[in-house]
């Protein structure tokens, strides 16, 4: 493994890749700082620009945007009380209070240090776990793959906010969208209505940009975005020994929570930070003081959301299954580069796997060196009014989707999904299950049809093989959990 990692560093430390890594983390931090522009929109926008460079360089830059955004998100939470990213929502509670008490520097400092520690440990764990997991995944057959994807999808719906029925509807709609295009087995065109651009299926990137980018801008315009930067002198960025003593436990717990939840579909950075905050509050001797400027309330969640990044790469790089919409997008990018993602990725494209891992170590280091000295610049960028920012976001989204094929079809598709996403947000439908289902459907459908062919049409194949049986039973249990839990509550009453 050490020779593989050395090979990875030789890839990551080449001047070219170092430059792309630097660009990625810098842009990631910038979009993390700016509310209303998330890593999904930024990756979608910059993806076409990576088509002319080697895949490894492209993926190094796009991954840098993702983890860079987690670093940047805390700045707005602490200084403006507006989270730059959903994963930094909870940082507002104590981070902003710390800023009001004149401890903005310490809050920013501990957020950056925690992010660095959590991010680095999670990359180490990724490097440790991914290769053996990929070897295990090689023995997976079609039934196991189908069962695994079902469980992943159900888990995502289970963990999403609000009504489970709405989550399921989104999942089902996503599966339907995933079936649009040419059927790989029979060659039949499905729901293409003679539109050429739909022959290869509905593009993941325009859908994601519409659902996450365009809809967010429209909602912000409707509701109005106002932000007031708290005027304070940012000094003493380095936490004192007492601050470290208070927060080291939170940082270590945040690392473990973030990493584990990052692996789970639907877990991701946002849920990791919320869970970390809840646990820190539960474990604290003074839980009533949370929300008044407790350093643990910043250190834990900010560590967890960075640790989640390393975890999220595990299912993608070993099984080819994305854990969240950003990973779904990266999967789409890798497939466009012509890289087959799955258990054989580590063997067939070791330069990409180890190069990305090594670049993440490098990127984390760049971020800690870059972020703290640049806080003044980030604050200045925050002062750009949203009324000047939204035309740029819209323009970037249009450019990003146009450059995919050089046609306006993709742009129109993005706008349609922007409108759909706007109504979905209005009526409290989560877009994540839709995206995940859409991305997983081609593989899931193939696994289902091949499994049924193998078993001569019997669904018992999913229960006769131990691993697929466990996965399917877990998925069914989760799906029925609201009914089971309400029955238990009724019985107890």
């Amino acid at each position: 493994m050490s020779s593989d990692l050395i090979q990875g560093f030789s890839v990551a430390l080449s001047w070219n890749n170092l430059f792309y890594c630097f660009c990625g983390v810098l842009l990631g931090t910038l979009i993390g700082v700016l509310p209303g522009l998330g890593p999904v929109a930024a990756i979608s926008l910059l993806f076409p620009t990576t088509l002319n460079i080697p895949p490894v360089s492209g993926i190094i830059m796009l991954a840098g945007i993702y983890y860079g955004a987690q670093y940047g998100g805390s700045t707005t939470s602490i200084l403006v009380n507006i989270p730059g990213e959903s994963s930094s929502v909870v940082t507002c509670l104590d981070g902003y209070q710390m800023a009001r008490q004149g401890r903005a520097g310490i809050a920013l400092g501990i957020a950056a240090m925690g992010s660095f520690i959590g991010g680095t440990i999670s990359i180490f764990l990724l490097q440790l776990i991914a290769p053996p997991l990929a070897k295990i995944a090689l023995v997976f057959g079609f039934p196991e793959y189908f069962a695994l994807m079902c469980l992943g999808l159900v888990l995502l719906i289970f963990m999403s906010h609000g009504s489970m029925v709405k989550g399921l509807m989104m999942g089902v709609l996503g599966i339907f969208l995933g079936t649009i295009g040419t059927d790989l087995i029979s060659g039949t065109s499905r729901f293409t209505f003679g539109i050429k651009v739909l022959m290869d299926g509905v593009g993941v990137i325009p859908v994601i940009m519409g659902l996450f980018g365009i809809s967010e801008v429209i909602l912000n315009l409707e509701e109005g975005v106002e932000r007031e930067i708290f005027k304070t002198k940012i000094s003493h960025l380095f936490p004192t020994l007492a601050d470290w003593a208070d927060s080291i436990g939170s940082i270590l717990r945040g690392t473990i929570i973030g990493f584990i939840l990052g692996i789970l579909p639907g877990g991701g950075a946002a849920i990791s930070s919320f869970t970390s905050y809840a646990i820190e509050k539960k474990l604290s001797k003074n839980p009533e003081r949370f929300g008044t400027g407790m350093i643990q309330g910043v250190a834990g969640p900010e560590t967890a959301n960075n640790a989640a990044v390393g975890g999220a790469f595990i299912p993608l790089l070993t099984l080819g299954i994305p854990a969240n919409p950003v990973m779904a997008l990266l999967l789409g990018c890798l497939l466009t580069y012509g890289v087959q993602v799955g258990p054989l990725l580590i063997k067939n494209h070791s330069d990409i796997f180890w190069g990305v891992i090594a670049s993440m170590y490098v990127g984390n280091l760049i971020l800690i060196l870059l972020n703290l000295p640049l806080i003044g610049i980030w604050v200045k960028i925050l002062k750009i009014p949203y009324s000047f920012l939204f035309p740029l976001i819209l323009l970037f989204c249009v450019l990003g989707s146009y450059s995919l094929n050089g046609t306006t079809h993709e742009v129109l598709l993005m706008i349609i999904f922007g409108i759909v996403g706007y109504f979905m947000k209005k009526f409290e439908y989560e877009p994540a299950p839709l995206v995940m289902a859409m991305v997983l459907t081609p593989l899931m459908e193939n696994s289902l049809r091949q499994s049924l062919l193998l078993s001569h049409g019997s669904f018992s194949i999913f229960f006769s093989r131990p691993l697929s049986a466990i996965l399917i039973i877990a998925a069914i249990t989760l799906l029925l959990w609201p009914i089971i839990s309400s029955l238990i509550v009724r019985k107890m009453k």
Binding site: S163, E223, V398, I419, S458
Partner: protein, 148 residues
């Protein structure tokens, strides 16, 4: 209303999928999975209908989601501008259409002073052309002017 949309969508999907070959369980055809999603969609719409009728709070919640007339107009104009930009780009070329698009957003949607809007529109259109066409070498539409 929302449930009716879901129900209709499910029914349309079922009907369209049945026109494709559904196959059988031994050998599922291309219409098999879409048909299942259509059925599931209809079932979920019915479940949601019963859930929402049981929950009286739902009605008050939905009332909250309705925005004011001015905000609705802003949303409508932004979407129209986006569609116009996407369609117009092919005819007017990237530079001119971007200039008009940014001008519209900055002048009509979130109004700013004339000079600010003019300078911003030109700067954004020109700099994005330089970055994306000249630096990143993306093939942007040239339109009938054939220059930008």
């Amino acid at each position: 209303m929302g449930n009716l949309i879901w129900l209709s969508l499910g029914a349309i999907i079922c009907l369209s999928s049945s026109k494709l070959s559904l196959g059988n369980l031994k050998s599922p055809g291309p219409g098999f999975l879409p048909f299942v999603t259509g059925v599931l969609m209809m079932v979920l719409a019915i479940v949601q209908f019963f859930q929402s009728t049981q929950n009286a709070l739902q009605a008050t919640k939905k009332q909250k989601t309705m925005a004011g007339k001015k905000a609705n107009l802003k949303v409508f104009l932004t979407i129209t501008a986006l569609i116009g930009y996407a369609v117009g780009m092919e005819y007017l070329g990237f530079f001119l259409s971007t200039l008009l698009f940014i001008w519209f957003l900055l002048r009509i949607i979130e109004p700013h002073g004339r000079l600010v809007v003019l300078i911003s529109s030109i700067t954004i259109a020109l700099s994005s052309y330089i970055i994306f066409e000249l630096w990143f070498q993306l093939q942007l539409p040239r339109g009938f002017i054939l220059l930008f």
